[in-house]
């Protein structure tokens, strides 16, 4: 038990795990571009995709998941040990801020795990004036597609007016614009592409990204941790 705790609280363990993780991903970085199987990696949740592919293609991903699991335990043990040690206030802040960064790393892992197991993505092509059926059996009416191009033919802006219907009742009307998707009941509707001629058509993606909130929390937590750490280190420099 004591050896186990020592293993998980050891900085050497962290260094080894990071080194092995980098090596695993480097292997994958050379496998991925030359293997056609990866073209479908975003079509289904990641864990489902990994299970469906041959191990010869995904061994480095399974290895990475295993290493990340151990790294997660290492992060938690190290952080708890660091925080519990008694120090003066300034030293404690200097110790806590890296732990906030570690916490953000854990939030990111939760985010990726949630997305890898519970994500959904579907694509559909719709003409102006038609409707598409959503996964919850409600429908999305494509009312008006507006495409603005410049004199050279480059698309400068676009908008798609939609209406969300449930049991033939109009629940909500929305305008999809660049970086302004439509969110409803856990699903997001995104415009992937548009066509103006010969008829106005929109290429939609309907997706569910359960890890997004955790990723945002992780990102915000990381910003707090890293900025605090930088400020504290700068303050320590100024002290005689």
């Amino acid at each position: 038990m004591k050896q186990g705790i020592q293993f998980f609280t050891s900085l050497r363990t962290t260094i080894w795990l990071l080194g092995l993780q980098i090596s695993m991903l480097l292997a994958g970085a050379f496998i991925m571009p030359v293997n056609e199987a990866f073209q479908s990696i975003h079509a289904v949740p990641l864990i489902q995709w990994i299970r469906e592919q041959p191990v010869s293609v995904t061994w480095w991903m399974w290895g990475s998941i295993g290493l990340l699991t151990v790294l997660t335990a290492n992060t938690i043990f190290c952080s708890v040990q660091s925080v519990l040690k008694k120090r003066n206030v300034f030293q404690w802040l200097l110790i806590v801020s890296p732990q906030i960064i570690h916490l953000s790393f854990l939030f990111m892992l939760i985010a990726h795990f949630a997305s890898a197991t519970g994500g959904f993505e579907g694509v559909v092509v719709a003409r102006e004036g038609t409707a598409v059926v959503l996964p919850n059996n409600a429908s999305l009416q494509i009312k008006v597609i507006t495409i603005i191009t410049d004199s050279h033919g480059y698309m400068r802006d676009w908008a798609v007016d939609v209406g969300y219907l449930s049991k033939e009742n109009m629940i909500k009307e929305e305008r999809l614009m660049p970086n302004q998707p439509f969110f409803w009941e856990g699903f997001g509707v995104y415009v992937k592409d548009l066509q103006a001629f010969p008829e106005k058509v929109v290429f939609l993606e309907i997706s569910r990204e359960p890890g997004a909130v955790w990723a945002l929390i992780g990102g915000a937590t990381f910003m707090v941790g890293i900025v605090t750490l930088l400020l504290l280190k700068m303050k320590r420099e100024e002290q005689p």
């Binding site: 990071l18 980098i22 975003h42 970086n179 993606e205 990723a215 890293i226």
Partner: protein, 236 residues
């Protein structure tokens, strides 16, 4: 364009007289600003713009380090040569003058790109400092290398976060598994490794310094190698 042409000889002449470095940097920044105004967007699309930006960032970031190193001439010369090399590659690279697609016109995307290249510049400074540390064994270089990497790591991480926010709003997912994102993960983990390793007795000193140098190799492959050699949503 003549502004951009004048930068390369200025950086080379700075090896002889330092004021040419400031002239070259001023010209390069003026070029970026005027190009941005002409294009009505941030001039950070494609290899020409990004190499120019990175060169300017490296030179600009080198100034406080130069002061901290008590005007170490060879450090300044090494960074000038780096800036000159990036600038000449920028000159021979194709310019992308098309307007930005609507989906790229958002602050999150702009911050993502700007912070990424600022961090790359700092990692480059750290690599230069590391090379001098291996040669001259000056302890002050090690602390400065650490500072460059720490701030670079902070900016790089923020770049990834802002990129994820933009991607979620634009494409419905904060992360994609393509070669660019995979190499980004490798890069982030590598500098995480550096920051942890230098705290361990076996890695303190020379081994950590070598990590700080090697990291820049990964930076350049992530930036140029992936964009030029691999199919990715981040390809030039």
């Amino acid at each position: 364009m003549w502004l951009s042409l004048a930068v390369f000889p200025c950086y080379l002449l700075s090896l002889w007289r330092r004021p040419f470095l400031y002239l070259g940097l001023s010209l390069q920044l003026t070029y970026l600003i005027t190009r941005g105004l002409a294009l009505e967007r941030l001039p950070l699309v494609g290899p020409h713009d990004t190499l120019t930006f990175m060169a300017a960032a490296m030179i600009a970031f080198s100034l406080p380090f130069y002061a901290a190193l008590k005007r170490h001439a060879r450090f300044s010369n090494a960074v000038s040569l780096f800036g000159a090399a990036l600038s000449i590659f920028a000159l021979v690279s194709k310019q992308h003058n098309a307007p930005l697609p609507p989906v790229l016109k958002i602050i999150w995307f702009e911050l993502h790109v700007v912070l990424a290249f600022l961090s790359y510049a700092l990692f480059g400074i750290a690599a230069v400092l590391g090379c001098f540390l291996l040669k001259e064994k000056e302890k002050s270089f090690e602390m400065l290398q650490y500072k460059a990497i720490l701030v670079g790591y902070c900016l790089f991480s923020l770049s990834v976060i802002f990129g994820g926010i933009w991607a979620y709003l634009a494409w419905g997912t904060y992360w994609l598994w393509t070669p660019k994102e995979l190499w980004t993960t490798i890069l982030w983990l590598f500098y995480s490794l550096y920051l942890h390793a230098r705290l361990h007795q076996w890695w303190t000193g020379r081994p950590a310094v070598v990590l700080g140098i090697a990291g820049f190799g990964i930076v350049m492959f992530t930036y140029l190698g992936v964009s030029l050699l691999m199919k990715s949503s981040h390809a030039f």
